[in-house]
Amino acid sequence: MGRNPKTLLRKFHEAKWDEQIILEMSVPGERGILVREAEPEVRREVGSGVSAIPPGLRRRSKPGLPEVNQARVLRHFLHLSQETLGTDVNIDIGEGTCTMKYSPKVHEQISNRNPAIRDVHPLQPTETMQGTLEIVYKLEQLLKEVSGMDRFTFQPSGGAQGVYTSAAMIRAYHESRGDTQRTEAITTMFSHPCDAAAPATAGYKIITIMPDKDGYADIEAFKGALSKRTAGIFITNPEDTGIYNPLIDEFVKAAHEVGALCHTDQANANGILGIARARDAGFDLSQFNLHKTFSVPHQSTGGSVGALGCTAELAEFLPVPQVKLAGEKYYLDYNAPRSIGKVRSFIGNVPSLVKAYAWIMQLGDEGLRQVAICSVLNNNYLMQKLQQIPGVVVRYAPGRRRLEQVRYSWEKLYEDTGVGTEDVRRRMADFGVQSYSTSHLPWIVPQPFTIEPTESFSKDDLDEYVAILTQISKEAYENPEFVKGAPYNSVVHRNSSASMDDPVNIAVTWRQFVKKGLDKRVRRSATKRS
């Protein structure tokens, strides 16, 4: 039986293996893999090798790793993968601000699984890396055109690290001018938490601008916060609300007038590819998250790149090395005396660069525009449908179009039924779609949820998603306790109420769990679900 054609819902149950922790699976003497031994002549020549270790540095007791045969290790981790809803296996449009999109399979084959990437050491002579450097260089040219920026670095291995790198470059810029009074950075409440935390890590005091009644960062408050102390601004557009800030160039202009630099966090630039560019709004720095907008798989939060672009004026502060071209030869340039140095070892997450390059090359100008248009179309289509669900409210700027995402609220549902966004979120897992993002903290919008459908999902996918939320709303009005008890068809049941902030309950490794005797408590104290 397939989906019910009337309700569009499917009967789903996620794989549930009731899997033990790998450390519980040890059978003394079992081996998962054998290791190559040194040749007899080598052994004759040097003996055991380990006898050279000074006594104080010799490991006395074996590491307490489990002893498990290979098939069982494989089976265990396959079970865990089956207990995970990656984007490959679900309509993953709920993780708003994360830009979950389809990551083409061919990209894995030409990058991580290609010996020309997989088996290359990052310090190899550049003549043995010409192909790789060519791709990195060409990706930079492509992103320059997409953003309007003059130069890029791919060293930051995450969007937040891209923002951090930007803050470090801003610091270096002001220092290079002997301008030591700039101790503050400004961000907005609906920008990602890293837009506050990364500049703070670079040493800045943070001023956060709250949204006005339309959900935009309040421009008067912003202008009031600017001063000779402002080193830089870190702002997203659209912000988490999905509402494009039409005054964005005024923000930039006002910041420039006091001598500050402007960074825009374009982690998810999905809605504006080929439509609007950071540089055209006056920004000096901007980062793209290649694992979001540019299709690099999210890798269980890994393999990420915060590709940071900047103006020609700021290029001297970029991290080293930079990939450059002289004649027909690509090389790594370390000769940058005013560079901020390094934020990450070597060149960065090179396999991800190959994937992003491939994706842009497949789409070209028209394809990138279609990515933007279809993601915005999907989002507005979904907004129109979701608004009709009892209990759903769209906050701010009524009747106005959103770009790539929308911050919704279940405030009404919560008032009517007592079912809140966390309850709905758990219930979603029962329908075979990933739990949605609520909101970064603090919640400005009450009972929030943030949906970002991207271009990867079809109208049919969107309709199924709407049907799921419609069903949960209906359940909440008819039987709120049922929704609160969710999930039922997911891998596990609702967590107990044990506070994870109480030191008594904290166990982040198996050994800590066992030492504290909490393993026994799991079995003893839980009350059976009725």
Binding site: L23, V42, L142, S295, E366, V376
Partner: protein
Amino acid sequence: MSGKKIVFPYIPNSVPDVKRQMLKAVKAKHEMDLYEEIPERLRVKRRLRLPKPILDESSLRRHVEGILQRNGSGYLSFLGAGCAEHFVPAVCDEINGRGEFLTAYGAASYADHGKWQAYFEYCSLMGELLDMDILSLPLYDGGQAAATSLRMASRMTGRKEVVVPRALNPEVGLVIKNYLKPDITINEAEYDRKTGTLDLKKLRSKISSKTAAVLIENPTYLGLLEADAAEIGRMARSAGAEFIVYTDPISLGVLSPPAKYGATFACGDFQPLGLHLNTGGGQGGFIATHDDMRYISQFKEELYGITPTIEPGEYGFDDVLYNRTAYGSREKGNEYTGTANGLWAITVAVYLSLMGPKGMQDTGRTIMQMSQYAAKRLSTVKGVRLRFQGPFFKEFVLDFNRSGKSVAAINRALLKERIIGGKDLSKELPELGQSSLYCVTEMRTQADIDRLAGAMEEVL
């Protein structure tokens, strides 16, 4: 683009009929009506100047693989310095290639229970290897792990100075330098020119009541074992400073875990544990500490705890002390946090599960045998000597000063034989003259080493 509309396989609603239907549903006449919130002045006035798209996957493949072919292949490499070729069991690639893990992200624990359990197992297995109880989700790389360890120590002690080796791996050192810049002073400790390990007397003079932490590498950047590590730890601790050991985790089947000789932090890069070289894309940082709230509350990355569910006997997982992080408290959190290395952490869990205690011991032993054999064999080449005589793990410094040739020239000549020589140290540590850092892992055979020695004899 004129003529026929392209339907992009990755963009389902690029089908013209579907798109029309949806535009109608949102009351837009034209695609650009969707963008009415973006003022004209901020829109791109022209089409992007991008290369003509390569629409089919077979041509794309030919295009990318064609470029990458220019790398050449079939080199025999002796490079290490923070990234090294170790054995990657097939099961590691099988698991990290699984679509569920490959395409999952930061979602809550219910639908992604398996991912959370795999993270928990990564922390648990690393905890066993390091003999420590607390690990967070991974960091970007070893350099970030070292830099954050130092900042954690500074926050804990309220002190603003740290001591690190001068001959620190520059890939780590440069990250630390940038990251500590706002308010922490770095004091560098010299190494003994004869032994290559830290000069204890000079080190002692750098430690004071202002020192937040002493960080050492063990094995060191130059490959050596820091035999006085316990003494250094005592020096740090008696000054009230934290003792941070940056270690190579693949050495810990045979080398003592840093906690055993007094480390209060162990950190490093886990690339050796089941990750390919990936042109530097296989890096991942870890930090481990003891079970003590003073340390736990200072981690910057997410901590995932195991917890009961309402079903008896069932394990669930949840965030621990979330408000500690920037996700929970924005600029008031510990440093900043973000997407780093989840899939590689899962791969490390697979690797350590396969290896078990015996596999880690065997790996450590084979590495030490092969590297010692290599050092011995290569020192017999005329003009080459082993720069430092003390015990080492997988790397060692070869001194070519007596050969009259530069490392650059030697490496160029070796490359003609399709051999990639060690890392040239002549610029970063000029006091060593023409010296080179060689790395020999369990992946190098006796024949490989003999081939290198033969080629070196030819070159010199």
